[in-house]
């Protein structure tokens, strides 16, 4: 099964089985739902934003290993970060899943597991779902502040 290792790596399987930051936040400062009608993936994203940073973030949802692992990895990476820092990470992530990894450039090791997604056009949207949902929240924060 070596061909599959590029996508279904231990780390993805681990995040899928034991998603980090899984659950709800009571009274979150921000909440958004993401839905991918093509494959039925769903995510509920809970955020506590203190006007500067994401203090806490949790998610629940229903989806494939890729979308779940992506959400799990995302929460671990954005917790405690400012909007600008998050945007930078998102841009890197977006480039990786759409264009793949160019190993001349430095790649955040947390994101390396998504280098294989590009080879699966049907799964790009799964990987992006959590991030798009977070973007919705960040946009709303922008508009209100």
């Amino acid at each position: 099964m070596s061909e599959l290792n590029d996508l279904y790596q231990e780390i993805i399987l681990d995040h899928n089985k034991n998603p980090r930051n899984w659950g709800k936040i009571d009274l979150p400062s921000n909440f958004a739902e993401g839905f991918n009608p093509l494959c039925g993936d769903k995510i509920e994203l809970y955020v506590n934003y203190n006007g500067d940073k994401i203090q806490d973030i949790k998610f629940e949802g229903n989806g494939c290993a890729i979308s779940k692992a992506s959400a799990s990895v995302m929460t671990t990476m954005v917790k405690g970060k400012t909007k600008d820092e998050i945007t930078k990470i998102y841009n890197e992530f977006h480039q990786i899943i759409t264009e793949g990894c160019n190993h001349d450039h430095y790649i955040d090791e947390n994101l390396e597991v998504f280098c294989g997604v590009k080879e699966y056009p049907g799964r790009v949207k799964c990987a992006a779902l959590a991030w798009h949902t977070l973007n919705d929240i960040l946009k709303r924060i922008d508009n209100n502040g």
Binding site: M1, E3, C39, A65, G122
Partner: protein, 412 residues
Amino acid sequence: MKNDPNCKFDVAKIRSDFPILSQKMNAKPLIYLDSAASTMKPRQVVESISDLYYGYYANIHRGVYLFSQISTEKYENARSVVKKYINAKYDEEIIFTRGATESINLIAHSYGRPNLKEGDEIIVTEMEHHANIVPWQQLCKETGAKLRYIPFDDKGELILEEYDKMVSNKTKIVSIVHISNSLGTINPVKYIFNKAKEVGAVTLLDASQSIQHVKVDVQELNCDFLAFSGHKIYGPTGIGILYGKLHLLEDMPPYQTGGDMIKSVSFERTLFADIPGRFEAGTQNIEGAIGLGAAIEYVSSIGLDEIAQYEHSLLEYANQKIREIPQVTIIGNAKQKASLISFLLEDIHPHDVGTIMDKLGIAVRTGQHCTEPTMKHFGITATTRASFAFYNTIDDINVFIEGIKQVIETFE
């Protein structure tokens, strides 16, 4: 013929008619188990299209020259082929549409809108494809009629007692799927339509998943209307059939309007043509009709009984093998079942199953199969579905079973 459990059916010969089955997918020999979504096309169908375009093509119906007449004849001959295949009484009862979805939309528009009113009821089942739900929801919005659903049990069989209670003189249309595309259930159409006829309701059969597998006789089944798509019966995309009883079609207003469906047009008014022309506005899908005719002739040349028997043997073999895998839960266990298996693999998401299968060269469908309400019944959002056609082999199933095992291994 080691592939054939009955040692009768020449699957190797059939496969040679389908060049795509010798292709590789992801560098592995293609194992195509998605015929319920769409079937592959035999050489005979593809060649009927190139013969048309290289040999005698012209726009049909109004040309005085020979090529236009030949094209018209071949197009109309395809109508006769369909008529014979479903045992309709008249050629005029066969309308070419874009597919099953359009056929049902046409009936909802041209039969439903003029004939339904507030308080009337339409009955479908809980296992319909969206194509046999949404057009009726729209019609109900417009007319005030009510849409009711025959429930099914956990095996995926319709609960007929509920239907018996539901059907009444309010029932105006009973529209059901012959074979469920997500569960494989073969529904007791005759029973359901006979009841419908007792209260004078009009009946519609969604034969999208049955027309390619079992004999569908519109007269015997008491169908007033019937819908199916060409691309699921080895024919081209973009073509489908609406069958309607003559007296019903004759009274129906047109659906789309334009050229070729009118008797005369003036600035003030328009006289519409007789059937079937009235429902075939504009230049028709000539290649689609001819390709569909060729596809049905191909299926007929193999024989529906032989096909049904062979496909059933594939299903039995697959069932037996897949049940040996403890992590598998089969969704849809009706006694009368067509050759497809929808299943879950513990908590492994179907899309992951599909992706891993893909890398192994195996094409299966994953998702809700356009039957969201059916999925909801089981409290799930998706299944993995393997569907078998007469060009599949026992070897295909063996590879598929190995694939499932590899998926499980990957996630262990």
